[in-house]
Symmetry: C2
Subunit: 300 residues, 2 copies
C-alpha cells in the first residue's frame, strides 16, 4: 500500500518551504521524505500551494496538510485574518480552499508559533521542558513553550518580550509604547544607529562590520546585546525558563548577538537562575518542521 | 464520632494566625471551625505551636497541620532553612518536631505562597483560571497561579516582579541589581522619598497624608503608582494573566496604590490585553486559609 504522508508548508513573501513527512504518529521530529523551497507566485497562491502539494507528495498518499503563514490567522476556521508579507491571503479562507482542492484536512497556523514549537521540541530546546524562544528580526517575537505546547496566557498574548520597555521614555515603537526592546534591537533600529554612525547598508552589513572589528560596529552591537541581556534578565525574573533559544536573521551564524548577550546576562545576573542561552538550531526549516508536526496530529 | 479537623497556622514575627477547618476534602475555601490570632513567644516556638494546636482543636479530632513560615523552607523534609522574621526557627526540622508532639502529619510551607494560592483560589482571583498576585510591603512578592497551582518556572524562581528593573541605572536593590521595582515602591523606598520631602513617619503615614490631600504625598504616591503600572505592563506583555491581584500592607484599604496603578495601566496600555487589576480580598487571613487548605490535602 502506498505510504501515507503529511505535508508542512511555510509560506513567506517570496518562497514556500515544504517538508513531507511520514503520517505515523509520534513525538519525534517529523522525518523528511522530501524537503525544499519553491517560489511563491504573486497571484493565485492557494492554487499554486495545492499544485506544490500534489507535486511534492507524488508517490505518496497525502493525508493532511498544515500551512504556516506570516500573519494573524484564525485556526478554528482556517482563515488568514491579516498577513503583511503575503497580502493576497488577507481575509481568505485558505484552509477550506485547500481542503476543497486537495480533499484532505488542512490546518492554517501562524509561522512564528510553528517555528517556536519546532525549535523547542526538536531544536535547541529539545533537552528542556520549559523553553523560551526569541526570533530577532525586523520585529522580535517571543514564545514560552512548556512540554511542547505554547503558553498563551489568559488572552493569547503572552511572550511579547519585544514589547517590554527597556528604555523608559525612549523611541516610539510600532506598538504605541516608547522604548520597547524592538525599538533598540529590531533590524530597522540597528540600521538607523549604524547609518547614523556613518556605516553603510542594513543590520546585516552592521554584523559583517562587527565581524571585521569595525569599532563603530563593535560599539553598536555590544550596546544592542546589552539591551537584549536586560530584557532576558526581566524574562528570567518573571518566567524563569529552563533554556532561552535565540533565532531569527539577526541571530544567525556566527551568533554574535546571542553569545554577547549570554555573557552580559552572566555578568549582570544576581538572584536570577541563569539557564543556557543558546542559538536556534533548525534555522530556516523550523517553520516547515513545525507545520509538518501539526499536520501529523491532524492525520492521527 | 468526633469531627475530624485540620489546622492551618500562619507564623509571623510576633503572632500566629490560625484557622481550624473541616478535614472533608473539597475545592471550596476551608471553613472556619475556629479562627484567630495568638501571640508568638520569643522562645520555644515549636512547643507553643503544638500547645496552640491542642487548644484550638479541643473537641475535634485533629488529623493534619500545615504551618506557613515567613522564609525559605524545605517542604520535602519540613525544615525551616532561613527565616529573617522568626530567626529561632532557622535550620529547625519544625515539621518532624510538631509531628512528634502532635502525632499527626505536619507540613511546612512558605507563607507568601500559601497566601497567594488562597487569594487566587478563594479571594480576588476566584473568578479567573490564570491569576498573578502581588504583595506590596517591605519587599514585593509575586506569584503566578494557574488553575490553583503556583507556576514555579524551571528553577522555582518565576514571578519576581519586584526584581524587574524599572529604572535602568537606578538605586541599588537588596538583590544586587539597580532600579528594581522594589527600589522605587517598596516600603523603605517610599519612606525615604517621603522623609526627604519633609514628611514624617513611614510609608503608612505617607498614605495617610495622601488621603488628606497633602500635595507632597500625592506626588510621591502618584509616581509610585506609575512605576507599579510600568511593571504591570511588563507583566501583561510577558505573562498575560487573567487577573492581577494586589495585596500587602501598602495596598490596604482604601487601596489608593491599586486604584491609581490600574488607571495608569489603562492609560498606558497599547497592544496589551488589560485584565482586571484588583485589591486582595482575604487580607491578613490569606496565609492561614492557604495553610488550612494544604493541611486538608495532607488529610485526604
Amino acid at each position: 500500500m502506498t505510504q501515507a504522508a503529511v505535508l508542512g508548508l511555510d509560506v513567506g513573501g517570496s518562497s514556500v518551504k515544504y517538508r513531507l513527512a511520514s503520517a505515523d504518529p509520534g513525538d519525534g521530529m517529523p522525518d523528511a521524505l522530501a524537503e525544499g523551497v519553491a517560489p511563491a507566485p504573486a497571484a493565485d497562491l492557494p492554487a499554486s500551494l495545492a499544485e506544490l502539494a500534489r507535486t511534492v507528495a507524488a508517490g505518496y498518499r497525502l493525508v493532511a496538510v498544515a500551512v504556516a503563514i506570516p500573519g494573524l490567522v484564525d485556526e478554528a476556521t482556517g482563515t488568514v485574518i491579516r498577513s503583511t508579507n503575503v497580502p493576497q491571503l488577507d481575509g481568505r479562507p485558505l484552509g477550506p480552499e485547500l481542503t476543497e482542492m486537495l480533499d484532505v484536512p488542512v490546518m492554517i497556523l501562524n509561522d512564528g508559533r510553528a517555528a517556536a514549537v519546532a525549535e523547542a521540541r526538536w531544536g535547541a530546546g529539545a533537552a528542556a521542558h520549559d523553553v523560551f524562544t526569541l526570533a530577532l528580526g525586523t520585529g522580535i517575537a517571543g514564545s514560552h513553550i512548556v512540554d511542547g505546547a505554547i503558553v498563551d496566557g489568559a488572552n493569547g498574548s503572552a511572550g511579547e518580550l519585544g514589547h517590554v520597555v527597556i528604555e523608559p521614555g525612549g523611541l516610539p515603537c510600532s506598538c504605541g509604547q516608547q522604548g520597547c526592546l524592538e525599538t533598540v534591537i529590531g533590524a530597522p533600529a540597528l540600521r538607523r544607529v549604524w547609518n547614523a554612525a556613518g556605516g553603510e547598508g542594513s543590520a546585516r552589513e552592521l554584523l559583517a562590520a562587527y565581524d571585521e572589528g569595525d569599532p563603530r560596529a563593535v560599539a553598536i552591537v555590544q550596546a544592542a546585546a546589552r539591551h537584549l541581556a536586560d530584557a532576558i534578565l526581566t524574562l528570567l525574573a518573571l518566567v524563569d525558563p529552563g533554556v532561552v533559544v535565540v533565532g531569527g536573521g539577526l541571530a544567525s551564524e556566527p551568533h554574535r548577538l546571542v553569545t554577547l548577550a549570554a555573557s552580559y546576562v552572566d555578568e549582570l545576573a544576581t538572584f536570577h537562575r541563569v539557564p543556557p542561552i543558546v542559538p536556534a538550531r533548525l534555522g530556516r526549516w523550523a517553520g516547515s518542521v513545525g507545520a509538518a508536526a501539526e499536520a501529523r496530529t491532524l492525520a492521527a
